[in-house]
């Protein structure tokens, strides 16, 4: 994926004496994970196509502290939070968008008490608002008529009650949206949350991502849509485990919209 996308940083904006409309919080997965970087790029392309004036923190961004907090390391979480808040407050950030539900939840819910009060949106909410404002067009394109099932990320869905934004976007793609038997508030976790992403699972008789992939496969999808880089990894691994990677793609909602338009 060797193509350069134009991504302004807050430091550059500051140097020009400008402020962007929104800060794009890329997150660790979006910055470093090869699969998630594709999601980041797809989202940036959509931001450009909607003429959104955005910037990233770049090297000034650091982990929100979510996996540390969920592991029980409140010290490390708060050190990360306070450092990030200092940076963001120095840039007088008002609005943040992120493609990671874990960053989204932490920035939105756990930063305010530590002095970081921002309007925080998940990228599906942000894209939905662009769509509503007429700044972004979403068309079926090559996904028209495909069977797609959406896996609710726990930290977007149950944790923050965002169920409709990603679905509204998918419907705009003129796809056949099929719900898994466990969806929305009853959605099953992909197995990555609570810092499980970074450790081996405890002994059991199955991996959570396999259980969830089975839910998804029951809907006989062409595509499993995700809204979280970690869910994406877990579901991709699950699909590989079931040897279905040739027939089923796991794609982020942002990738679906960007790819539909061949951005």
């Amino acid at each position: 994926m060797s193509e350069t996308v134009k991504v302004p940083t807050m430091a550059e904006y500051m140097a020009e004496g400008k402020k962007p409309e929104v800060l794009f919080w890329v997150g660790c997965a979006g910055s470093f994970d090869d699969r998630a970087k594709k999601i980041t790029k797809a989202f940036v392309k959509l931001l450009h196509s909607a003429n959104v004036d955005f910037a990233v923190l770049g090297a000034e961004e650091s982990c929100t502290g979510d996996p540390a907090k969920r592991s029980g390391n409140e010290f490390l979480f708060q050190m990360q939070a306070v450092t990030n808040i200092e940076v963001m407050n120095a840039y007088e950030i008002k609005k943040v968008v992120t493609a990671c539900p874990h960053c989204f939840n932490t920035l939105k819910n756990e930063y305010p008490a530590l002095g970081g009060d921002y309007e925080v949106m998940h990228h599906t909410q942000f894209l939905k608002s662009l769509l509503d404002e007429g700044r972004l067009t979403v068309e079926g394109g090559k996904f028209k008529g495909k069977r797609i099932t959406f896996h609710d990320p726990c930290y977007l869905g149950r944790a923050n009650n965002v169920y409709e934004a990603p679905r509204d976007l998918l419907k705009k793609l003129e796809v056949e949206l099929i719900e898994m038997k466990r969806c929305k508030r009853n959605g099953l976790c992909c197995g990555a949350g609570g810092a499980q992403m970074f450790k081996e699972p405890e002994p059991g008789n199955k991996d959570v991502n396999i259980e969830r992939t089975e839910d998804a496969l029951e809907t006989k999808p062409d595509i499993i849509a995700a809204g979280c880089p970690f869910c994406n990894t877990m579901m991709t691994d699950g699909v590989k485990n079931k040897e279905k990677e040739d027939s089923i793609e796991v794609l982020d909602v942002a990738e679906l919209i960007a790819n539909a338009q061949d951005l």
């Binding site: 660790c28 770049g58 409140e74 050190m79």
Partner: protein
């Protein structure tokens, strides 16, 4: 001599309510062993939650079969209690069916009680069938062996017997009314017990009187025993569901609290003008440093302890838990049961010794193992599933905090992840300066 039944009744009533009150005070004292947490905000929203979730059973009906059966038993329980009021007045004053003066309305009341009693009986039999014949998986998890299983069934037997006694009492009363026996005024309408009544056809007035009085006494004694059984049982939820839903966490489910003690230290570390060698201000006590996280019940807050007493072991949390579904040891229900059992143990210790004497045990390890705690994905499925606003997740996180911040006992993989965050601001070992490399890869 004629007042002996009245006197006996008053003694039994006072003893029953007295012992219950004594035990409930213990429950309240035990809950207060928890740390303080402010749940005095947003009274309106809290009342609404209590009205919807506890009174309105809004989360029970998410599983329709159990939900509807539960509503029948719940309504029956509440409405039939009006009858208990009559029984108590009759018992104290030696009257019989004191509310009979209500006339047609009394007929309506008694008829409603009878129909509800029958429905409750049927509902309870179905509940019993689900547990013991259909053997729904969530009632057969490892933590349900022994007492929890017997407790669940005992409650159902209690309710079956109480409803049966109520109907038998009415059936005998109906016969006595028709015989024109002394005291047994014609009152009430008996849509259910009229079908039981023929069983007593041809019996003498004396036998009928024995049956009616026997059923009456056993019914009220049964209610008092059941009331006192609550304290020893998971069945306390019939009372605690109300405060528990009122004091439930109103934050978004994804939001964990920020530990204030940690914030103070972090702010001090980040403050360039802070003097690390400064003597504590006069108003600051230099006591033992606060413990981070929870290793025992006293480290949890009172709302978490109220959660533990409220849990009625329905197992919806465990059946929704991704870790439990995939064979891990974690069961959110067991987290709540362990917390309650340990809290009771601590309470008994206080009763025995006057104040808590170290018993060499704690919630961590002796009840809940690190293996269970580390299996949690913090997905909130358990919190969402609970019909009475219990959060097993908040206890899991507090115990993880203890493991990590007090014991440095995180799994190795997580320690690596955390040292990566400390060193380079990401859970993986990538250089922070490379965070924007993706833009030109």
């Amino acid at each position: 001599m004629q007042y002996i039944p009245n006197i006996l009744f008053v003694i039994v009533l006072v003893a029953g309510i007295g012992y219950f009150t004594k035990n409930i005070r213990k429950v309240i004292r035990n809950i207060r062993l928890g740390k303080d947490v402010d749940r005095s905000d947003n009274k309106g929203e809290r009342f609404k939650n209590m009205a919807m979730i506890a009174m309105g059973q809004s989360k029970m009906i998410r599983r329709p079969i159990a939900g509807i059966l539960h509503i029948v038993v719940y309504l029956g329980f509440i409405i039939i209690n009006i009858e208990v009021l009559e029984i108590i007045i009759d018992g104290i004053f030696g009257t019989h069916r004191i509310f009979a003066f209500l006339g047609g309305f009394y007929d309506f009341l008694i008829a409603s009680f009878e129909i509800l009693a029958l429905l409750v009986f049927v509902g309870v039999v179905l509940f019993w069938t689900r547990r013991n014949v259909i053997k729904l998986k969530r009632f057969w998890n490892p933590e349900m062996k022994g007492w929890p299983k017997n407790d669940g069934n005992l409650i159902l037997y209690f309710e079956m017997v109480l409803m049966a006694l109520f109907l038998v009492m009415n059936a005998a009363d109906l016969q006595l009314q028709e015989l024109g026996a002394d005291h047994y005024i014609k009152a009430g309408s008996y849509p259910v017990s009229q079908f039981i009544s023929p069983l007593f056809d041809g019996m003498s007035e004396g036998s009928l009187f024995l049956i009616e009085r026997g059923a009456w006494w056993l019914h009220i004694l049964g209610i008092l025993v059941f009331l006192n059984y609550l304290y020893f049982s998971k069945h306390l939820h019939i009372l605690l569901a109300f405060p528990n839903t009122y004091y439930g966490d109103l934050k978004p489910q994804g939001q964990l609290d920020n530990l204030e003690a940690v914030t103070n230290e972090v702010m001090l570390m980040m403050d360039p003008s802070a003097d690390p060698f400064a003597a504590p201000a006069d108003d600051q006590q230099e006591g033992e440093p606060e413990k981070f996280g929870a290793s025992d019940v006293m480290d949890l807050n009172w709302a978490q302890l109220l959660n533990a007493y409220t849990c009625t072991e329905c197992g919806r949390c465990t059946s929704e838990c991704p870790a439990n579904q995939t064979g891990k040891k974690l069961s959110p229900r067991k987290i709540m049961m362990d917390t309650r059992d340990r809290l009771k143990e601590v309470g008994d210790n206080i009763d025995k010794n006057g104040s808590f004497v170290d018993d060499g045990k704690q919630l961590l390890n002796d009840y809940i193992t690190p293996e269970e705690l580390w299996a949690c994905t913090s997905c909130n499925a358990c919190v969402e599933a609970c019909p009475v606003s219990i959060s097993p997740l908040s206890i899991i996180i507090d115990m993880r905090r203890y493991l990590v911040m007090e014991e440095s006992a995180a799994p190795t993989d997580l320690n690596n992840m955390m040292s990566n965050i400390e060193n380079n601001g990401a859970p993986w070992p990538f250089n922070q300066m490379d965070r924007l490399n993706w833009s030109n890869e």
